[in-house]
């Protein structure tokens, strides 16, 4: 409520405004069949003055005397702009069809949609508006065909996995290149401490406030992306922020508040049941739970030992619902204020926002403050200047997450239910084996990452001649990250060292200068030619320092100065640079036949002297078939556009000095500083190279009410940078080489339909459906020897002929039902009825480490989203589902959660174990820590899902009402995220990905922090 005074103040300013001189415009809006269009929007360009047409297609609008242009638009029709001249009557005939005059942002400029010959997809401000997405990637999820986005986890502020047309690299970066307001930005994980935190990483793109964004364009194929050369292999995401417009200053206030909750929980055996079953499962060893945990421990849980019978009575044992203890309903809120406007020569946009999210797991939260100031100034007829400046601060209170047992959440689904949360005195309950009380960890441990970011550029454009302009742009991206971690001396990972603290700073700066010449000309009456020539350089610095200390007095002292030992320290400074020359040529005849060619020469300091520069060419062709005479007058087909492209892009994301033979310091001995060889140089090292073919088709039917875009691509990445193992006698074990190959092939569809269109006040329904099908395959590796990564060292495999990061392990085909089945099988010596049957892959008659194979794919076959938007009167309802089919998830928590032992919480299904009387089950006979704990196909589940990602109900107050209040717009909305999920995956979240954004780990869930269900209520005021 503290924001109310601010709104009131603004109201009073607005109402003071005097009425200027005005005139009244009237007219009728019809379609090409002369039918009136009801509900068409009629707006004075650059202002908020507007109305809609009535049932006869007529409108009447009072406009200021100085109004210059009137824009008339309607869904499913191309909008038209009329000059406001002497006449007070402006009639309009709208042409049906997708708005092909729409201008899209592309590399180093803009292009009309119909002129684009590559594969480009865009997301406009409407798609992102007021959706409480915390990051740009979240806003993209399910919206663009072929862009596969995995949330990875529900960790606030953490990295999101983005794969445009599949992954292209194994050890390099697989995330796209991000361009904000024309310049590449720092992406990836800036943290110096994440490797000790494990699991989900933070990400530099999280700093960007989705609400400041005007448009997002995704460049998918080589023709669109090759202009970004050595960094474009994973596609390019171009983001433009909001800018000012000429006209009265418009204010916008947007606020939402809501709450988040966990979507579902795992069910575990109750305390007494767990102990009982573990006792049964330990019998083959001649042991009981009390033997393993200690008699006094079991008694402390409520077990009663009967000395006479020698048996335990577990009926009084507690059942702790750990998930209930650790999960919470967490608030989420966002307040945002912006203003934009400008005069003829100077336009501005400024905004400020505050985002505050608590995690659904205790101890985690994310807060972000963003400010933006964008300015455009026409200094003279020939010279224009612009400034784009974004500032942000984020405070991320983190918890140890996936992949480790020290996370509060992991402990909540790993600590057995029979362990009490609190003891009789109200203190935190006991630890058990490897696990600690998650409440104590969350209470005492602290992991805070604070990040400041300045992202800005200034640009100047000079019109040398009417058809020739020069633009220079200078940008700086500065990221300052300070991290302070404290692990308490009482519970958790730092007990042995009496507490541990790590403090780290990282300063990442990127300076970019780009200079471009733009030329365009018409040749004769029907040919057009334009050209772009450019030169850019980029310099990146990273400075880091960390300090680690141990030995803390208690949990009150958490900073390094309280420590007794400084155990590790580190400081470094590293650089890389890129110098580029680039050009693009577009040529068209009759606005029907188009050809485009681009070329970029990139030099990167990361590569060997022998291979420092590389060329990235791309060419494309386009043909607007519907403009040919035989289709021009068709009533059914309103647009047919064919596109073909081929080109090369690169990936330069390897270590800054990977090509050089290096000595490292810090190889100390006996109190003296020393140096030693650190890395074997390879001066031939070069880029990973991606060649991509794309064939595309844009179709529109029924006056644009149905529009389809389809693309087919083959994307082949060669020269993959991989370590080649070398003899240890060299003093090294590997050398980096360009050896591997990966291919992605796929098809994408985007279907937009305007199912019912009745205009502004009537009932409208439109649908946006997209689908991506991608088939990735590893084509070559070093000597075609498989590579293994992931949990246990080999949960993900790169094997020639298989998908990248294929799920790997033993194959289990069922349960032995009888001794007869076991006899003669490879498990004849070890198995009993009720044990899992494993496949003897190498046929050597025994189940050994050589019997692992590919048992699943972490990649979906098809994925995408469907959005249905309904509007009636002032109401709007939008339902957005995202889906993913064919991807598997390795639920590796099962190694422990199904081991029948007393050290880990056991899934509730374990009570349904195999017995001769209960043969129809997938749970083996109770044998603690048996072969069923092997990583194998019995832990791989189909993680296909359809999820109601977003449901928004909004009400826009009528203009009559808003005008009385002196406001231009009042919008109230309620929305839910992740409201429903349909999946067969038995774990918490089918989108879990404990490997994070990493290219080598994918598709396993190891105690992943699940996403939340979020419900928010908001108000958006414009005045």
């Amino acid at each position: 409520m503290k924001h109310l005074w601010f709104i009131l103040l603004l109201f009073s300013i607005v109402s003071l405004e005097a009425l200027a001189q005005s005139r009244t415009l009237t007219g009728t809006v019809t379609d090409s069949a002369d039918e009136p269009i009801i509900g068409a929007n009629v707006v004075v360009s650059g202002t908020t003055i507007g109305t809609v047409t009535d049932i006869d297609g007529k409108y009447s609008l009072v406009v200021p005397q100085d109004a210059k242009q009137l824009v008339i638009s309607f869904i499913g029709f191309q909008s038209v702009t009329f000059p406001i001249e002497a006449s007070n009557v402006i009639d309009a005939t709208l042409k049906a069809g997708v708005d092909l005059t729409e201008v899209l942002v592309v590399g180093y400029g803009t292009q009309q949609k119909r002129d684009i010959t590559g594969s480009v997809a865009n997301l406009s401000i409407e798609d992102l508006q007021t959706v409480p997405v915390t990051s740009i990637e979240q806003g993209l999820q399910g919206r663009i065909a072929g862009v596969d986005i995995l949330q990875n986890s529900g960790t606030p502020g953490s990295a999101i996995n983005v794969r445009i047309r599949g992954g292209t690299s194994i050890l390099g970066d697989n995330q796209p290149l991000y361009i904000v307001d024309g310049v590449p930005i720092t992406t990836g994980n800036p943290s110096g401490l994440d490797d000790i935190l494990s699991g989900q990483e933070i990400d530099a793109t999280a700093d960007i406030n989705a609400n400041e964004i005007e448009s997002i364009t995704v460049l998918k194929d080589a023709a669109a992306a090759a202009l970004y050369g050595s960094r474009a292999a994973n596609g390019v995401v171009i983001i433009n922020t909001k800018r000012g417009q000429q006209g009265k200053t418009k204010f916008n206030f947007n606020a939402y508040r809501g709450f988040q909750q966990d979507m579902n929980r795992l069910e575990f055996l109750s305390g007494p049941e767990h102990l009982r079953i573990s006792d049964i499962a330990l019998q083959p060893y001649g042991l009981t739970v009390a033997d393993l945990l200690g008699q006094s421990a079991v008694e402390s849980y409520g077990g009663i030992f009967d000395e006479e019978s020698g048996t335990w009575d577990y009926s009084n044992v507690v059942t702790t619902d750990w998930q209930e203890e650790v999960l919470r309903t967490a608030p989420i809120s966002n307040y945002e204020f912006s203003a934009k406007g400008g005069s003829e020569n100077t336009r501005f946009y400024t905004g400020f926002s505050m985002f505050d999210q608590e995690g659904i797991v205790i101890g985690s939260s994310y807060k972000r403050f963003n400010g933006r100031f964008n300015l455009d100034h026409q200094a003279s007829e020939k010279l224009s200047l612009s400034l784009s400046l974004g500032l942000s601060r984020s405070e991320n209170e983190r918890i140890v997450s996936d992949n480790t047992i020290y996370s509060p959440f992991a402990n909540s689904i790993a600590l057995p239910t029979f362990v009490p949360a609190y003891d009789d005195d109200g203190n935190f309950g006991p630890t058990l084996g490897a696990y600690d009380n998650p409440l104590a960890i969350a209470e005492y441990d602290q992991q805070l990452s604070v990040q400041h970011r300045m992202l800005g550029n200034i640009a100047a454009t000079y019109q040398i001649a009417p058809n020739l302009s020069f633009t220079t742009r200078w940008s700086a991206d500065m990221l300052f990250l300070k991290e302070d971690f404290f692990w308490n001396p009482l519970v958790g990972q730092a007990v042995g060292t009496d507490g541990e603290a790590n403090t780290s700073t990282a300063i990442l700066t990127k300076y970019v200068n780009e200079n471009t010449l733009n030329f365009n000309t018409a040749i004769g009456d029907n040919q057009k030619f334009d050209a772009l020539l450019g030169f850019s350089w980029e310099d990146n610095h990273t400075e880091r320092s960390t300090l680690q200390a141990t030995g803390f007095p208690n949990v009150e002292f958490t900073t390094i100065n309280a420590a007794t030992n400084y155990t590790d320290g580190f400081s470094s400074y590293t650089d890389y640079g890129i110098v580029s020359y680039f050009s693009r040529f577009n040529y068209s005849i009759n606005n029907k036949y188009r050809a485009s060619f681009s070329l970029r020469l990139d030099g990167s300091s990361r590569f060997g002297e022998n291979n420092r520069y590389a060329l990235f060419p791309a060419g494309s062709l386009g043909w607007t078939v519907s403009d040919e005479p035989f289709l021009a007058n068709s009533n059914t087909i309103s647009n047919v556009n064919l596109r073909l492209s081929y080109g090369l892009t690169g990936n330069q994301s390897i270590g800054n000095f990977a090509s050089r033979g290096l000595y490292a310091a810090g190889r100390n001995y006996a109190g003296s500083a020393g140096t030693a060889p650190e890395q074997l140089g390879n001066p031939d090292l070069t880029w990973e190279e991606t060649a991509q073919f794309n064939a595309g088709l844009d179709l529109a039917f029924f006056k644009g009410r149905v529009a389809l875009t389809a693309d087919y691509y083959i994307k082949t990445t060669t020269e993959l940078l991989l370590p080649r193992p070398i003899s240890g006698t060299t003093g090294f074990t590997q050398i980096q080489q360009n050896v591997g190959e990966i291919e992605n092939k796929g098809i994408e569809f985007l279907l937009t339909t305007y199912n019912i269109t009745n205009g502004g006040e009537g009932f409208n329904w439109n649908t946006n459906f997209n689908l991506g099908y991608n088939k990735p395959v590893v084509k070559a590796l070093n000597n075609d020897e498989p590579l293994f990564y992931g949990l246990g060292g080999d949960s993900n495999a790169f094997i020639v002929g298989e998908v990248p990061a294929a799920l790997y392990g033993f194959e289990s085909t069922g349960i032995f039902q009888s001794e007869e089945e076991i006899a003669g099988s490879p498990q004849a010596d070890t198995a009993v009825p009720g044990d899992l049957i494993f496949t003897d892959v190498d046929g050597d008659g025994a189940i050994t480490g050589n019997d692992k194979k590919v048992i699943g794919s972490p990649w979906p076959n098809v994925f995408g989203g469907i959005t249905n938007t309904f509007s009636f009167k002032g109401f709007e309802l939008s339902a957005f589902f995202s889906y993913s089919f064919g991807n598997d998830l390795y639920w590796l928590q099962s190694i422990y959660a199904t081991d029948f032992g007393p050290f880990d919480a056991q899934l509730a299904k374990m009570a349904n174990y195999w017995t001769p009387e209960n043969p129809n089950t997938d749970v083996p006979q109770p044998f603690a820590f048996g072969d069923h704990t092997r990583q194998g196909s019995h832990m791989v589940f189909d993680a296909s899902y359809i999820r109601l990602k977003n449901l928004t109900l909004a009400y826009n107050f009528s203009s009559n009402l808003t005008q009385k209040l002196g406001l231009e717009k009042i919008r109230l909305y309620a929305q839910g995220q992740n409201l429903m999920t349909s999946t067969d995956y038995p774990g918490l979240d089918p989108e879990a990905n404990s490997g994070g954004a990493d290219g080598t780990n994918r598709g396993y869930d190891f105690y992943a922090y699940p996403q939340a269900r979020t419900i928010t209520f908001g108000v958006n005021l414009g005045f």
Partner: protein
């Protein structure tokens, strides 16, 4: 408007200027510098030498600190293979070593190989590049000592000693000898094993050069003339060249630079005691420490205790031997695997127990054994050498051996004395192997007392690299 044009040209010029060195950044920070120019003067050679010593302690691979050489894995291997230590850990790479069940893909034996060769590569860089730097002669000599130590540890771990009589077609195969630094892809080629005799010849040559180039004394933790000489005595002993072994060991004893500690325990409670000849100086910092105490000391005190002494080593100590309590913990109760622990490494909070590679007591034991072997008789010199240690151990001469022992009995006594004196100092399995006592003492297969050549070496080098018989 003209000015604006000028401004643009200025900006363009400026931007072109700015890019000149964008492509040529220098690695700074963890102070990395190019290998080719790493050793150009005495100071840089000294830095590299410290780095070579560091290779005895830890290896940092992908930012992970590994302790595969004297940091723990190699240091305990000799006792673990033999009858001194049990692996009480779930790491099968160690339990397999303990149970003589190692396969060629055992990660610990592979990493020991890589770690020792990495140290040798550091030494090779110095020996090659500092050879022409005047004033760096002693640095080169120390590097040769380190290289010799590396090859000695390799050849005794991965190959049968010359004195072993086991019948094996691969008996004469040593380890690959690499004497040049590896600088780039051009230096990579398939490599095979040199004969054992060539490896020992290289060790002797390096040690002789080191002894000649070094002073009587050096800083704590650094190799002196006598460190090289003491290792040479041991090398001769392993080679079966007993006369040289005896005379070399005697020269160390008679050098006057060392004296037995009055109290045996002082070897471990006092760093760089008067008895110490070459001692690896571990420190508490992360990359300078070891996990000897963590893995060997008392679990009751918070150690992981991945290795526990055997009952057999308890029983090897005679009544009244002062070395028992200095060597083993919990000696006042009957042996139990759950309470026994090694007492030689105990600095649990700082993880900086030094590792003694050679000390004077070993020279007495070499003298005793080698002089007897060389003369094929229990000489007075040999008997005196052995009794010198027994007097220290028992506090008086009451436990001394008398004259008149036959050679076999004497050699058995020396072997047991080596066991009790040098337990957990990386001697036991090698002593059993070179004296052909493996089967008699432990019932083990001598061919399994040496490690297999790592599987990855066989894959990378193809047929050129030959696996040990038995693997």
């Amino acid at each position: 408007m003209k000015h604006i044009k000028h401004l643009f040209f200025f900006l363009l010029f400026f931007s072109l200027m700015g890019c000149e060195d964008v492509l040529e950044p220098e690695p700074i920070g963890i102070a990395r510098f190019d290998a080719a120019t790493a050793i150009t003067n005495v100071d840089e050679a000294e830095l590299a030498l410290i780095g070579a010593y560091d290779g005895l302690q830890t290896q940092i691979i992908s930012n992970i600190v590994q302790r595969d050489y004297y940091g723990v894995s190699f240091a305990v291997a000799g006792d673990l293979i033999a009858d001194n230590l049990l692996a009480t850990t779930t790491f099968t790479s160690y339990t397999d070593i303990d149970n003589l069940n190692v396969t060629s893909d055992n990660i610990t034996t592979e990493r020991i190989w890589n770690a020792i060769y990495a140290m040798i590569n550091r030494a090779n860089n110095i020996i090659e590049r500092a050879a022409s730097i005047s004033g760096a002669e002693s640095i080169v000599a120390e590097a040769k000592f380190l290289r010799a130590l590396g090859y000695f540890d390799l050849v005794r771990t991965y190959a049968l000693p010359p004195t072993n009589s086991a019948s094996s077609p691969t008996k004469d195969l040593g380890v690959p000898i690499v004497l040049q630094p590896i600088e780039g892809p051009g230096d990579l080629q398939s490599i095979g094993r040199n004969p054992v005799s060539e490896v020992y010849a290289q060790i002797v040559a390096d040690l002789q050069a080191a002894a000649a180039g070094l002073d009587d004394d050096n800083a704590d933790g650094r190799a002196s003339k006598w460190a090289a000489t003491a290792l040479l005595a041991r090398a001769y002993l392993y080679m079966g060249q007993y006369a040289q072994a005896a005379s070399t060991a005697e020269s160390v004893i008679n050098s006057g630079n060392f004296a037995l500690n009055g109290n045996f325990a002082s070897n471990f409670t006092t760093e760089f005691s008067g008895e110490s000849i070459f001692e690896i100086d571990f420190g508490p910092a992360l990359a300078d420490d070891n996990v000897l105490a963590r893995d060997l000391y008392d679990s009751e005190q918070g150690a992981l205790q991945r290795f526990t002494p055997t009952e057999s080593i308890y029983n090897a100590f005679e009544e009244g031997d002062s070395r028992l309590t200095a060597t083993l913990g919990n000696t006042d109760i009957p042996y139990s695997v759950s309470s026994a622990f090694v007492n030689k490494y105990f600095r649990l909070s700082s993880n900086d127990d030094n590792f003694i590679v050679s000390r004077l007591a070993e020279m007495y034991l070499i003298l005793a054994e080698a002089d007897a072997m060389a003369n094929n008789a229990v000489t007075d010199k040999a008997l005196t050498a052995l009794n010198t240690l027994r007097e220290r151990a028992f506090g008086d001469a009451t436990h001394n051996y008398g004259s008149g022992m036959d050679l076999t009995t004497f050699l058995a006594a020396v072997l047991n004395e080596r066991r009790t004196e040098l337990a957990f100092e990386c001697h036991r399995s090698f002593d059993l192997l070179r004296t052909n006592q493996v089967e008699a003492a432990t019932g083990g297969n001598p061919l399994k007392y040496i490690f297999p050549i790592p599987n990855r070496e066989l894959q990378i080098n193809g047929d050129v690299m030959v696996q040990n018989e038995g693997y």
